[in-house]
Amino acid sequence: MVEGLLYLTAALGATAFLLALGRFIRGPSAADRVAAFDVLTIISITGIVLAALAEGRGIYLDVALVYALLSFLGVITVAHYLERSV
């Protein structure tokens, strides 16, 4: 039961990943791509948590923390760039 639910989680996460990747590829503007980039980063955090559960190592969570930071800073950087490119 638990195992099955974990597989379901992975499958749903993979679907989410592909959908967000679709938005990243289709665009059309850079802002849309950044939004997709943000969502992809957040989905990757879920991936990291799943990997940590599968391997049973809590130390992987440090990397997830860095990811949360990264998604924020990346979006802010690109927004800053976009605002000045009018």
Partner: protein, 118 residues
């Protein structure tokens, strides 16, 4: 896993080199280089991976006595860590030079820079 990583890494190197050699815009070339750089790192880490083994960090679940039988090769990881840091240094240098070139020549198109033609 190793095979996946190796194949992806090799393909990334090829894609990156293709981009670096066929694009004319300097910034695009640098982007392509950074893609190739990622590919090389992926290949190196992939070579160090052993199936069914854990990360080389000891904790409560991985006591020191069991380490040789249970961890993967730590050496490529240390190497790649260094490579990534140096990679960002070289990228920053390339970018600074590209900016300087843009200021003096007013262009980033390498086909318009005679001295660099090959």
């Amino acid at each position: 896993m190793t095979e996946i990583a190796l194949a992806t890494g090799f393909l990334l190197i090829l894609i990156g080199l293709y981009g670096a050699l066929t694009n004319r815009n300097l910034l695009r070339m640098i982007v392509a280089f950074s893609v190739a750089n990622t590919g090389v790192n992926l290949v190196l880490v992939g070579v160090g991976y052993l199936r069914g083994r854990a990360a080389p960090i000891l904790d409560a679940t991985l006591p020191a006595a069991e380490a040789p039988a249970r961890i993967i090769d730590p050496l490529p990881q240390a190497l790649v860590l260094t490579a990534i840091v140096i990679g960002v240094g070289t990228t920053a240098l390339m970018l600074a030079y590209a900016y300087r070139l843009y200021l003096t020549r007013g262009t980033l198109d390498i086909s318009r820079l005679r001295e660099l033609k090959w």
